[in-house]
Each structure stands twice: as structure tokens, then as C-alpha cells.
């Protein structure tokens, strides 16, 4: 599946970026509307790919980016309603619009557990050796 290979590529990227042992909490990804990626499918693939690993509880936060067009002639920027071809011409004239968004597939951030932040309240659970100030 497409989504599975995207999930695997994402995990690969995180292993290299954050390190395979990183205590990840969540991961943020932006998906452009043109990528043809289904959010639910990707969530499912993410869980399937990570189940039984040290990252199996890591949350995947998905953000969608709309298909966005820009008219170089008049500077107008707009978002065609759905991914359909009938709103791609600018009323100002025949100049073809250029793509200004919608093809993204980006890792935006990853969140790791912060040992120091657990000092108050939850400290009881997470204070381990060497964690103190």
C-alpha cells in the first residue's frame, strides 16, 4: 500500500533524525491534497508498522495542506474546492496558474519526552537516576 510505504519512509527518516532509541511522544506531518494519501489509512499503516516496537505508542499528528494555485498575471492565490479541474483558471485571463501548495509531504516536528519537565506532579513516575537538576 502507498500509505504503508509512506509510513515506512517516515519511520526511516525519524530513526535518522531523532535516533532509533529516542523517546518519541508524537510526530507531526503535513500532507498536501494532491498526494492522494488517506489520513485514516496512514494512521493505520503507522500503527501496523510500529506495533511491537519501542515507538508503538507514538502519536501521529496529521495536518492537511489544501491544493493552492497562484496566478502569476494578477497575483491572486486561491484554493480549488476539491481536487477537480474546473476551478484552475483565473478569471483575469489565459495565463496558466502555478502550483502554490498541495504537493507537500513533510515531517514538521517530532516531540520527545522531556525528563526535566516531569519535576512537578508527575515526577513520581518518571524521575529516574541522573534526572535531577
Amino acid at each position: 500500500m502507498h500509505e504503508l510505504s509512506i509510513a515506512e519512509a517516515l519511520i526511516d527518516l525519524l530513526r535518522r533524525r531523532a535516533g532509533p532509541e529516542a523517546k518519541l511522544v508524537s510526530v507531526g506531518v503535513r500532507i498536501g491534497a494532491l498526494q492522494g494519501i488517506d489520513g485514516q489509512c496512514l494512521q493505520f499503516a503507522w500503527q501496523a508498522a510500529l506495533s511491537g516496537t519501542n515507538w508503538q505508542d507514538v502519536r501521529l499528528d496529521l495536518e492537511s495542506a489544501p491544493w493552492t494555485l497562484h496566478c502569476p498575471a494578477c497575483g491572486r492565490t486561491w484554493q480549488p474546492a476539491a481536487a477537480i479541474a474546473d476551478q484552475t483558471a483565473c478569471p483575469c485571463g489565459p495565463t496558466p496558474a502555478t502550483l502554490a501548495g498541495g504537493d507537500e509531504l513533510d515531517l514538521l516536528f517530532y516531540e520527545v519526552q522531556t525528563p526535566a519537565a516531569s519535576g512537578v506532579g508527575e515526577g513520581v513516575y518518571s524521575s529516574t537516576k541522573g534526572d535531577g537538576p
Binding site: H2, S5, G36, A85, D106, L107, L108, Y110
Partner: protein, 222 residues
Amino acid sequence: MKVPVVENVLKLNDEIARLNRRAFQEAKVFVVDLIGSPGCGKTALLEATLEHLRGTIEIGVLVGDPATSRDGQRLARRCAQVVQINTGNGCHLDANQIRQAAARLDLNRLDILFIENVGNLICPVSFDLGQHVKVGMFSVSEGDDKAAKHPHLLLVSSLLLLNKMDLLPHVNFDLEHFHQDVRCLNAAVPLLELSVKHGQIEPWLNWLTCQGQLQQGTSRVA
């Protein structure tokens, strides 16, 4: 603690694609990634192309399918350098599969390398393989709305093919509507109408010849 990144998820794929591209350029081989739905005639087009260009230029083919080596066998009858790639559950080819498969070819002897992607109009679009051009292929029996429904393919294609023109009288396909949709999404892309079954592929052969020459800056592609 949040660590901001902003990095393309397919960065690894793109890095390998860059290596592929360099290898293709060094070997002076023009690489075409052919993308279209299952059954639109990709293998048939490559068979006919091999037939027409036999003896004039050297062609290699990497062909991706979820299973079987049937297309590979079809093509191997007309071409010495064919590698079948089975993707299993994979719905597209990625740069690493191309890298491994291309290693089994003698690139230096090739003028053109065709990559027949897995039949699918969505996923193959996102994966750079190191090709020079992506070519989007449709056929009239799929319905005239397929270009409009796959804007990403339209946007990345350097050429569009519309096959099975011989079936036009028998199917509900509004040619003008199809052209309009294409123009809306990509005003510049050439659109060639073919009937591979009846050997009507001249516009495609001409395009291929021109592109090969432009790309290589030589007239190695006769």
C-alpha cells in the same frame, strides 16, 4: 519537547533518485517513467515501440507489476535488456527498486530506458525514480474524467498519451471535454492520441526521437 524539522518524508527516496539520475546521465541514457492505469496499454505501447525502433537504437525496459513476470516475458521477446520488478503489495516503484534493477542492465549500451510503472495513477506520481520525464497514459475506455480526477499526474507529466482511439466510437468518451480538463490543469503539456493496437504510434515515436536528442545534446538517438 518539540523538535521542528520540516523535511520531505520521501527524502531518502529522493536521494537515491538523484544517484540514479546521475548514473543515467553518465551512461547517456534517456529515461522515461510511464505511468497509467492497469490495462491502458503500457506494455503494448512498449512492445510496439521496440518493434518500430529495432535496429536503430538500443532500448532497455524495467517493468513493475505487483505479481508475475508476464509483462517482462512479453517484452523480452523484443528486447535483450528487460528486468521485471515484482512489488508484492507495493502500488508503485521507488528509487531503490530502480537502482537495484538498473544494476542488472548494461546502461552504457542503452539509448533509452523505459520504466513501466505499476498500474496506478496516484502513488507513482510522488516517487522520483531518477527519470528524465514522467509520461502519463490514459485510454478512452477508462472514461473522459480520469485526467481531471488525477491533477497531480497531470502537473508532473512532460507528456500525456491517450490510447485506444480505435474504441472511441464504442465508448462514452467526450474527447473535447478531456482536452479541456487537460488544458485547465496543464496548459503546456503535449497530448498525443494513439491506437497502439493498430500501430498508430507515430506521434509518440517522433516525440521520443526529439526528446532523446534534446536531452543528450547529441544525435545518438536516430
